[in-house]
């Protein structure tokens, strides 16, 4: 196989550049395996990984233009192009820095409560539907494959417009607390203000997400139903604008 990798060492390279590597194919090979092969048998290559099973998110990158987690991406026998995850700052080669995005996601999902959770609270049965949704949503590894693939997020970035949609990873972070029985925050309002109605329901997030349990579009529709029931059918509260009369 010819694996073409976008390489960049800012201490010595003027710009990123592509390098071809000849990698022998074998059955059940993953992209991560191919990268290890290149690093060990061809030349040093910088990439990050940890869990080897799509739950830490660190190996997220682009394969043939599509975001994936390298550790669980099966390779077909053929030529491939590997690049760092788009729109994240590149540290070196395939290593990016997700700090800013991760911190935003953490801020979105801080639990709101007035009363400290007790063991008795936990032993209380919870709504089976919420339990089933949490089983899925807690799996989000914050790999940002969805975020990178979302056409709404991409359009907002490319048009340099206001940040109207927190993206699927952001909406999942909000959904976590929406279903969380120990959270008292108004997550429906938060979802609406975070761009719930800007999503086009295209389902790309669902298609690329390595956590197969998460049914993104179903979640977006549940949140929309809840928002509609409260009359929150569009984004409430205007973003700061200049020169507009109200």
């Amino acid at each position: 196989m010819k694996i073409t990798v976008k390489k960049y060492d800012p201490t010595v390279d003027a710009a990123p550049h592509y390098v071809d590597y000849d990698v022998p194919f074998k059955e059940y090979m993953t992209l991560l395996e191919a990268l290890v092969y290149i690093d060990e048998s061809r030349e040093p290559l910088a990439f990050d990984f940890s869990c080897r099973g799509r739950i830490c998110g660190r190996c997220a990158m682009m394969l043939d233009g599509i975001a994936c987690t390298a550790c669980t991406k099966g390779l077909t026998d053929g030529d491939h192009v590997v690049e760092p995850l788009e729109r994240q700052p590149v540290i070196r080669d395939l290593v990016v820095d997700k700090t800013a995005t991760h911190d935003k996601l953490s801020a979105l999902s801080v639990r709101q409560w007035t009363k400290q959770t007790t063991w008795e609270d936990i032993q209380e049965p919870i709504d089976p539907h919420d339990a089933a949704m949490l089983y899925a949503v807690e799996r989000c590894a914050r790999c940002l494959v969805c975020q990178t693939s979302c056409p709404v997020v991409r359009a907002a970035v490319e048009s340099a417009g206001p940040d109207d949609y927190v993206g699927p990873a952001g909406m999942i972070a909000i959904a976590l607390r929406y279903y969380d029985p120990y959270d008292e925050g108004d997550r429906v309002l938060q979802a609406v203000n975070s761009g719930l109605w800007n999503c086009t329901l295209c389902g790309t997030c669902d298609a690329v997400c390595p956590a197969l349990e998460i049914e993104h579009v179903s979640i977006w529709n549940e949140l929309r139903e809840a928002a509609t029931a409260r009359g929150l059918t569009s984004k409430v509260g205007s973003a700061l604008t200049f020169g507009e009369k109200h």
Binding site: D9, T11, V12, Y28, T30, L32, E33, V36, D39, E40, P44, A46, D48, F49, S50, C51, R52, G53, R54, I55, C56, R58, C71, T72, G74, P89, I91, R92, V95, D97, K98, T99, A100, H102, S106, A107, S109, V110, R111, Q116, T117, W119, I122, Q123, P125, I126, P128, D130, A131, L134, Y135, E138, R139, C140, R142, L176, Y179, D180, Y182, L212
Partner: protein, 617 residues
């Protein structure tokens, strides 16, 4: 000096105190002309002894060249009350406790914050709920370091809540825990499931103003007059050295199992590559005795396909909760019905089956998931991978005839600096969230030592008056920087991964079907060979400083090699079997001779072993 606030590197800390130059004291800092030419002269040796002049005598170099090996070896310095090395479960609990005690706390994380270590992978953990069990004392009594357990018990008090780890994790952000279909809590006798561990560092990041220095690998300790005054490491994205001065330091770098084989992408271990025991081994080299080096904790997980061999996250395992469908090569379900206790040594039975010739092609056994109901009884974390294997590999493990090949993996390792009843190591000012010496591969009690260590470290730090910097001894900083520069600049014909795999193959050969004297001696001979022949030839081919994974692996190799040697030697000494520790040549437990810990001491490159009997309770 404003210091480094380079946000493109994404680090969380914006409070760099100063930039220093190795070889020049901060007092004698001469801006623009500081250099440390000593590094290139000593570059050929991987481990460099501090034979340099003291900081006061060191004259500034007359100039700097562009050659990276003789460029000024700058370092960034930070100051804090309590430094916690590692932001896993241990590190997070210790840091939050120290913070609650009123200390300024700095946490150093080797990987990216909130995605680092076992905590940073979003796995749903089984967690003990001690407080809900009648007579919780049985867990304390089963634990050999009575002095520590008694003090922890006293500190926590009689309240049951702190003993309920599941409650703690929910308060840290985990949502509902695993539920039955009707929404009721899924409970076993001792534990519950469904804690998602990444909420813990996230809680630290959002609810405290604890400083986090991530992507920073701690490699050495600051020692001044025999007291630990902080730690030294490398910021991996930039290759810049970082010195964190602290009144108290807590080691929480996790147990290292990275020497346990190699699958093609990782060790045959569900643990993570960053856990190479770096801070533990720095403490060892500074005089701390390691305890428990012979104790791995073992489990079984799929070893095929190799791309995910040994991975918990992607794997399909058969731990103590789902032994029913474990099968030998004759098709016999030889482990019987589910065993309730999570930490029973089923791996011993599996190892024995393999030794008896009933194992699989790669020295494992099988799990048969083709029977009705078999897939459903798997724990969540494994069951969810059935669908993933179809997508990624085109493998349907439930299809008639398929056998999941599983092998013995090491998920934890106990070797760590021994602690006293204050969770302090033999170096004053250096605390540890492990090092209990309980002669097991794992202990649920480990969960209570971290907050206690944080409390102890805070108490110690609060007792120190502020003006302690005037006699700062930078010799240990200089020595460590020279050592790491030497590793970066060394010439040789062995790339770090070659040495890494040699270590891994040796240790795996010793333990993966239980140990015996022959296997252990063979492995020890190979470790000695690696030490004398390969390590002096270890060289990184790429010498730039930006995210240099080869350099990182080379630094880790020093630690893994030492830890492996200690592990093998201590295992050879212990002529018995106990819990996860299985000697096929000594299969019985021998309390008469082996109710004891083995301590490993470092003496200028040589290891000394001492047997420390414990009182039977």
């Amino acid at each position: 000096m404003d210091g480094n606030s380079d946000t493109t590197q994404g680090n969380h800390d914006k409070r760099v105190a100063d930039v220093g130059f190795a070889g020049i004291s901060r007092r004698n800092f001469l801006k623009g002309s500081g250099a440390f030419l000593g590094a290139s002269f000593l570059a050929s040796s991987a481990v460099v002894a501090a034979g340099c002049a003291s900081e006061k005598e060191k004259a500034p170099a007359s100039g700097t060249s562009d050659n990276s090996s003789s460029a000024a070896t700058e370092f960034d310095t930070f100051s804090t009350d309590v430094l916690v090395v590692g932001c896993g479960i241990g590190g997070t609990l210790a840091a939050v406790q120290a913070y609650k005690e009123g200390c300024q706390v700095t946490v150093v994380d080797k990987g990216p914050f909130k995605a680092s270590g076992v905590t940073g992978m979003n796995w749903e953990a089984g967690v003990y709920k001690f407080g809900m069990i009648e007579g919780r004392g049985n867990w304390v009594d089963g634990f050999s370091n009575m002095a520590v357990s008694a003090k922890i018990d006293e500190w926590i008090g009689t309240s049951l809540e702190p003993w309920n780890l599941a409650l703690t994790f929910v308060r840290l952000g985990s949502s509902s825990l695993r539920r039955n279909e009707d929404g009721s809590l899924y409970e076993r006798e001792f534990d519950v499931e469904g804690v998602f561990s990444r909420h813990a560092p996230e809680y630290l990041g959002t609810h405290t103003d604890i400083d986090v220095l991530d992507n920073t690998m701690i490699t050495g300790l600051c020692i001044s007059d025999g007291i630990c005054t902080g730690a030294i490491g490398v910021h991996v994205p930039t290759g810049r050295y970082r010195v964190i001065r602290a009144k108290a330091t807590v080691i929480a770098d996790g147990g290292s199992t990275q020497m346990f084989g190699w699958s093609g992408t990782g060790a045959i271990s569900i643990n993570v590559p960053d856990n190479t025991g770096d801070a533990d081994m720095a403490a060892f080299r500074n005089g701390c005795s390691l305890i428990g080096t012979e104790f791995f904790s073992s489990d079984m997980v799929s070893i095929f396909p190799p791309a995910i061999g040994g991975s918990f996250a992607a794997g399909i395992g058969a731990d103590a909760y789902s032994t029913q469908y474990v099968m030998d090569n004759q098709g016999k379900y030889f482990l019987g019905a589910d065993s309730e206790g999570h930490y029973l040594p089923i791996t011993t039975q599996v190892a024995q089956a393999i030794l008896d010739g009933r194992g699989s092609e790669h020295d494992g056994v099988y799990v048969d998931l083709t029977q009705p109901g078999a897939a459903e009884q798997l724990r969540w974390a494994y069951g969810r991978n059935i669908e993933m294997w179809k997508n990624t590999f085109g493998i349907d493990v439930t299809a008639p005839g398929y056998k999941v090949e599983i092998g013995i993996e090491a998920f934890e390792h106990m070797g760590s600096p021994v602690v006293d009843e204050n969770a302090m190591t033999q170096i004053p000012g250096l605390f540890n969230v492990r090092g209990l010496g309980n002669m097991m591969g794992v202990s649920p009690f480990l969960h209570f030592l971290p907050p206690y260590a944080g409390y102890s470290a805070a108490s110690y730090a609060l007792d120190i008056d502020d003006d302690n910097d005037s006699s700062a001894d930078w010799a240990s900083v200089e020595e460590e920087i020279m050592r790491l520069e030497g590793i970066l600049n060394a010439g040789g014909n062995k790339r770090p991964h070659e040495i890494r795999h040699a270590i891994q193959n040796a240790v795996y050969g010793a333990f993966h079907v239980g140990a015996d004297a022959d296997r252990l001696n063979t492995a020890l001979a190979e470790i000695q060979r690696i030490k004398s022949e390969d390590m002096p030839q270890m060289a990184v081919t790429n010498k730039t400083r930006c995210y240099n994974t080869e350099w990182r692996m080379a630094i880790e190799n020093v630690n893994l090699l030492e830890l492996s040697e200690a592990t093998l030697q201590a295992s050879l000494m212990r002529e018995e079997s106990r819990m996860f520790f299985f000697r096929s040549d000594f299969p019985e437990t021998d309390d008469e001779n082996w109710m004891a810990n083995i301590l490993v001491n470092y003496d200028n490159g040589d290891f000394e072993y001492e047997i420390a009997p414990i009182a039977v309770q």
